[in-house]
Symmetry: C2
Subunit: 218 residues, 2 copies
DNA sequence: ATAAAAATGAGGGGATTCACCTATTTGTTT
DNA sequence: AAACAAATAGGTGAATCCCCTCATTTTTAT
């Protein structure tokens, strides 16, 4: 009696990675690659068509990201399990992946052996986080919580405060901001103070420092 | 008569990339992979041993970088040609590679076809820069020149000024810096002014902004 | 040895921000 | 209708930084 082969779809916009992953999977027993995609739209189409047991999704794609693909997959009710694959050892990405319900999470720097381990674990119904990450999980969680604190604090800002903060991040003085917005300089300064209070910032240049360092998040 | 095969060594610390590149090279006529390495020291050893026609070097390695390997290769007088391979579309890396005398430069996001084109070109004695980069070459050059301007300006700073700038980049006030260095606050302020002058910075927070944005370079 | 560059220190004026206040108007919620 | 949050505007004082000028000492270069 022949054991049923587990089907896999790979999504990655780097041709070499695609090549590499396919190569190590095809050396394995009971695993077969039934589809490959290099963009988000291709990926969704292929996964809907083949209903694979497993999808290995690159987080960073040219048109969107792996998380979007995962959302689509959930709608198909395929019972396709998902492993996220990423280049960057970024706690925020791991957090997002776990939040979405990924069964596996590996870095592109992992060895072929680790990746096969991950695939086997996930197909057996277990979760697998690459050792490098799980080893540092506490640190990652802490940092992740810190990020949440920043985002949480930022969400406490009102619309006006956030608008002011954008100007500050581009290194404008209160006077310049007040001129551009046609409001009093004093109003801008008040907003600055309220922002500092909400973000728990103290000291001479802590606000401009925060604004520059978190420019993308604002 | 059998045509001599061109020998290739691949260096990359990502097992999957190694796998992918080997796979596409071995599908080609007259090309054979005679060695692989995932660290700088391994790479140097293997290249000295095999004296390949071509070395494909990942820029980012765990122990050092591809540039260091290139320096070693030059000493061997192997006539081994070099292609740099990198994940990051960074003008500074391209500049460095060209400066060192690399014959080829490709991004990991390139297709297998482009990579084979690059290998063929370099083995034929031509240079090859991945189309994505050469298309933007003007922009890259400009940005690269800008970087040089910043570095040039930074090099005008004296030792003390640079030391002060480091403190500024970690958001210390003049008073704090003067306390830590046991010098007068006034001295620190004087250095600040001289730094601003040399870097052509004007305005209230331009120095701290510069310091934070160029933290790594200082 | 002499000149130039760098490091140190100081004075003063002006600008900006920080950190406390108060207060009015407007809109929303209950 | 009353309570509340948000945006607006103003006051004051301290801290910090920016932008000049000047002077002394030490180090470096010619």
């Amino acid at each position: 009696m022949k054991i049923r082969e587990n089907t896999v779809v790979i999504v990655d916009d780097h041709p070499l990675f695609l090549e590499g992953i396919r190569s190590i999977i095809q050396r394995e027993e009971n695993l077969s690659v039934v589809g490959e995609a290099s963009t988000g739209s291709e990926a969704v189409e292929i996964i809907e068509k083949h209903k694979p047991d497993l999808a290995i999704l690159d987080v960073e794609l040219k048109d969107g990201d792996g998380f979007e693909i995962f959302e689509f997959i959930k709608n198909f009710k395929n019972e396709t399990r998902v492993i996220f694959l990423t280049m960057h050892n970024d706690p925020e990405i791991l957090r997002k992946a776990l939040e979405q319900g990924a069964m596996g999470f590996i870095l592109k720097e992992n060895t072929a052996g680790e990746i096969i381990d991950c695939i086997r674990s996930v197909l057996d119904g277990h979760t697998y986080i690459c050792p490098k990450l799980s080893g540092n999980l506490f640190k990652l969680m802490k940092s992740s919580l810190l990020q949440n604190n920043i985002n949480g604090a930022l969400n406490k800002l009102t619309v006006s405060e956030r608008r002011i903060l954008k100007f500050i991040s581009s290194n404008k003085t209160s006077r310049e901001i007040s001129n551009e917005l046609n409001i009093s300089t004093k109003t801008v300064e008040n907003h600055r103070n309220n922002i500092c209070e909400k973000l728990n910032l103290h000291g001479s240049h802590s606000l401009i420092k925060f604004a520059i360092e978190n420019k993308e998040r604002i």
